[in-house]
Amino acid sequence: MKFRAKITDKGCLELFIHVSGTVARLAKVCVLRVCPDSLCFGPGGSGGLREARLWCEVRQGTFQQFRMEGVAEDLNEIHLELTAEHLSRAARSAAGASSLKLQLTHKRRPCLTVAVELASSLGRARSVVHDLPVRVLPRRVWRDCLPPSLRASDVSIYLPRWRTLRSIVERMANVGDHVLVEANLSGRMTLSMETEVVSIQSYFKNLGNPPKSAVGVPQNRDLESMVQVRVDNRRLLQFLEGQQIHPTTALCNIWDNTLLQLVLVQEDVSLQYFIPAL
């Protein structure tokens, strides 16, 4: 089992710092899947979508060097369990660094070593090396770490402006715990919540819908009908506040009365956050 990757590009390094920061905000223990062409972060613990969960994929393009050898030829992956905050802290020490290297090592126990070369102000090289304790997961639990595979969503819609969405959800969270998210295929989205004394609705329109793939799309779908899901507002807010990347694409998928999925993409990084219906 081998893994070695290096980031030397400044923008990619910043993105990696934000990704590891996001994962640390939303999960305590995470599983890092080293795949032949990407790193995938997933929640620790057993699978299932009984609670809100984050998956994150960092494709090889983020790294200027990437080499891995999995546990076996036919199973060319490595699954590592680690404390998300460790990785985030190690990555943060690389702010402004000239390079960040990740390597699977064994220093009396398996470690993910994060080696940072700092470009010192006076041109003198300094380095910081972090050894993160990891647990190599046995193959029998690998399936639990994968994101769920689901049928196509009922509605897929682009999200409103991030700051607007966050501040609305934040204000709603001050009032109550549940929020109803509705959207249709005509670019309309509604967030609503209701308590005994107050009800709040926010209406968004002209958001646009991503082009759906041909697979599994019902032909005569009513574009105006709203699909809805009621979720825990605090989980939604946690994601809106915790995520740190600057996505070029931000959309959500709704499975009627079942599931809400938020998807953010920036360059070679994608975040997916699933919140089950209440």
């Binding site: 020490s93 126990r109 300094r126 304790p133 647990r135």
Partner: protein, 385 residues
């Protein structure tokens, strides 16, 4: 207006005023029916801050004497021009007078208790190894370490690189059978600096010491703010390490115990017990100053006083401006500590390994009555809070 603040709320009020002082120079006080408002604005009027303390915050709150209108006023927060410190033997008071602008004079009468001189016995010249660097360099070097990290190992590596590595006491025989066991183990961070970052480096490759990072940070932050160079004199593991700063007007010495018999490259050896050989000290130690690390002597004094108010009359050592240690007879310091504010420390138990800085500004010593010098074996503390 008349208000009485008691208990923990005094500190809260002090911190509120302190945070307002970061914004502006003047504090606007306005007692209102729904509470006392404290406001400030900065000179360019680009920042405004306001605290409103509800009447429930106070033990007694009277916005205005009956029949009078509500008055408001503003006072200056940062205006100390001169500070006079004197000892009044007759009334047993340490008098600190702050002369401020516009005729404002603040006088603090602090009660104190007689004590012996706090003298640690140590000699930097007797340490074979030393290194010196600007505090800024060392400040950058400790940046990657988590703020909660208790101990750090400093050593000279190959190529005369200076290495700082986080130190954790490993439990013997940990198992990796469950996630919490292995992944909750601490992360090890190692920082490498080149020899050229140091103004002086007098130590061979392979030497190292392990000391308390939290205590070192205290001196480091002062040295960084004063833009001074910091020297570290050290000897074998177990012998105290001496950290010094100096300029034409002041000097400071921090003497910290180091772990003995540890090889920083193999930390998984058996029991984590460490012994500190500890020689003589002639007086009692004082606990660390509280969190407020600021050089505004005014708020420093407020914080001192509020704690005094909480705990009744407390003993304070005399504050001396120059901490000069006595010429040493034998190297190394030791400490005794007993803090009445912490009921968990019982007289007679072995005191913690650390002892206190001799740096000026040590305060708040709830001390026992003075005793003669006695050797004390200080065991390594389990890890301070």
């Amino acid at each position: 207006m008349k208000c009485l603040v008691t208990g923990g709320n005094v500190k809260v009020l002090g911190k509120a005023v302190h945070s307002l002082s970061r914004i502006g120079d003047e504090l606007y006080l306005e007692p209102l029916e729904d509470g006392l408002s404290l406001r400030t604005v900065n000179s360019s009027r680009s920042a405004y801050a306001c605290f409103l303390f509800a009447p429930l915050f106070f033990q007694q709150y009277q916005a205005a004497t009956p029949g009078q209108d509500l008055l408001r006023c503003k006072i200056l927060m940062k205006t100390v021009e001169k500070c006079c410190i004197s000892l009044n033997g007759r009334s047993s008071r340490l008098v600190v007078q702050l002369h401020c602008k516009f005729g404002v004079r603040k006088t603090h009468n602090l009660s104190f208790q007689d004590c012996e001189s706090l003298q640690a016995v140590f000699d930097p010249a007797s340490c074979p190894h030393m290194l010196r660097a600007p505090a800024r360099v060392l400040g950058e070097a400790v940046l990657p370490f988590p703020p909660a990290l208790a101990e750090v190992t400093l050593g000279i590596g190959r190529g005369r690189r200076v290495i700082l590595r986080s130190y954790h006491e490993e439990e013997a025989g940990f198992s990796c059978s469950s996630p919490t066991d292995s992944t909750a183990k601490a992360m090890v961070t190692e920082m490498c600096l080149g020899e050229e970052d140091f103004q002086q480096l007098q130590a061979q490759e392979g030497v190292s010491i392990t000391f308390c990072l939290k205590e070192f940070r205290g001196l480091l932050s002062f040295a960084e703010s004063a833009n001074l160079n910091l020297s570290i004199h050290f000897d074998a593991p177990g012998r105290p390490a001496i950290f010094t700063i100096k300029d034409s007007l002041l000097d400071g010495h921090f003497v910290l115990a180091t772990l003995s018999d540890t090889d920083s490259h193999s930390q998984d050896l058996g029991s984590p017990e460490h012994h500190q050989p500890v020689p003589q000290l002639q007086a009692h130690s004082v606990p660390h100053p509280d969190d407020f690390a600021n050089d505004d002597i005014d708020s420093y004094m407020i914080a001192m006083e509020t704690t005094i108010g909480n705990e009744g009359s407390r003993a304070l050592p005399s504050i001396s401006l120059s901490p000069g240690p006595q010429p040493p007879k034998s190297p190394g310091p030791h400490s005794e500590e007993e803090d009445e504010a912490e009921p968990s420390t019982v007289p007679g138990t072995p005191p913690p390994k650390k002892f206190r800085s001799l740096f000026f500004g040590s305060i708040l010593a709830p001390v026992r009555s003075p005793q003669g010098p006695s050797p004390v074996l200080a065991e390594d503390s389990e890890g301070e809070g």
